[in-house]
């Protein structure tokens, strides 16, 4: 039996949390939605105040977080996750209503899988899930063409990971990820 694709969604907006939760459920994902980066860290066991629960039970396949949040931004959360040996392999997606190139670059450079401009669409979620599932099944030696800003208003909104979206890719150095085979 295929394991559930478990997504941790982080957003301080009630409305957005409800929408992203629904988008993920419709895409057959299991969802845990929290309202702050602090709560997310607690859940992931990175909170200093609590000892981590059995992490395997909580296995998170993807984290999707809003950028602008009070107290701790999605970017800060991204840094904490990528700075953790235990969690750094979990793909982190940033969502933002603001389409600011330097911000996009910063997030991607820090290791974000993708930067989605809000409002997030069902096609974005499905694309992400499929891409990550494929990555899990076929690990690659180079982190590749999904690392881009996504606000695709063209008819090809559902372009698959295998097509190279060069026209959308920001000009930042590609991250190399060496996988021990």
């Amino acid at each position: 039996m295929a394991q559930e694709f478990h997504v941790l969604a982080v957003d301080d907006s009630f409305v957005d949390r409800k929408v992203i939760e629904r988008l993920l459920k419709v895409s057959s994902c299991k969802v845990t939605a929290v309202e702050s980066a602090g709560r997310a860290l607690q859940y992931l066991g990175l909170d200093e105040e609590r000892s981590p629960v059995e992490f395997d039970e909580l296995k998170v396949n993807m984290i999707i977080t809003d950028y602008s949040m009070p107290e701790m931004t999605g970017y800060d959360l991204l840094k904490r996750i990528k700075g953790s040996k235990k969690l750094r392999e979990i793909p982190v997606v940033i969502m933002s209503s603001e389409d600011i190139q330097p911000r996009v670059n910063r997030c991607l450079e820090e290791g974000a899988e993708e930067y989605l401009v809000k409002p997030v669409k069902l096609s974005d979620v499905v694309r992400l899930r499929d891409f990550i599932l494929r990555q899990k099944a076929h690990p690659q030696t180079e982190h590749n063409s999904m690392k881009r800003k996504s606000r695709d208003e063209s008819p090809n909104a559902g372009c698959s990971a295998s097509t190279s979206c060069d026209h959308l890719r920001p000009s930042i150095p590609k991250r190399r990820k060496i996988v021990q085979l």
Binding site: S13, D16, V19, V26, P119, L122
Partner: protein, 152 residues
């Protein structure tokens, strides 16, 4: 069943006008697509959350703009939130006025902020009214034994 037919036509016309006149954009339709038999009230629930959220934000904005010394960063933060939530439900006009309000915040132009805030409130109440009418029409159709037409 003529009555149901009438209601359904009214619903279709009204829905189209909301999109044609720019009150709602594609995002609202995206939400409608997420609604199904397992979640038949999804749109209503999200919009209700939006109304609740908005009342708080508008109240906070009102207070913030009336301070002796206006904290434009705080005002901008509220407007950013409001722009976000209105965008998430497809309330296009509200979102657009929020964009203007943000630029006045950046300029720290209090007079324009206040005027623009009135516009934001106006657009919000108009779309609130329209959405409540839409939901009411849906209810009436269902109560009369009909099904709510799918708007493409």
């Amino acid at each position: 069943m003529e009555f149901v037919g009438q209601l359904q036509r009214q619903f279709v016309q009204f829905s189209h006008s909301l999109f044609d006149e720019g009150f709602l954009d594609d995002q609202f339709q995206q939400l409608q697509k997420l609604q199904d038999e397992s979640n038949p009230d999804f749109v209503l629930e999200v919009v209700s959350l939006f109304f609740e959220d908005s009342e708080k934000l508008l109240n906070n904005l009102s207070i913030a703009l009336q301070q002796q010394i206006v904290d434009f960063k705080q005002v901008d933060s509220y407007v950013h939130q409001f722009k976000g939530s209105s965008s998430s439900i497809g309330a296009q006009r509200v979102k657009n006025v929020c964009v203007h309000l943000r630029s006045f915040c950046e300029e720290q132009n209090l007079e324009r902020c206040v005027m623009c805030f009135q516009q934001v409130k106006h657009e919000y109440y108009v779309v609130k009214n329209k959405l409540e009418t839409l939901f009411r029409l849906e209810r009436q159709i269902v109560e009369a034994g009909g099904t709510v037409p799918f708007i493409l």
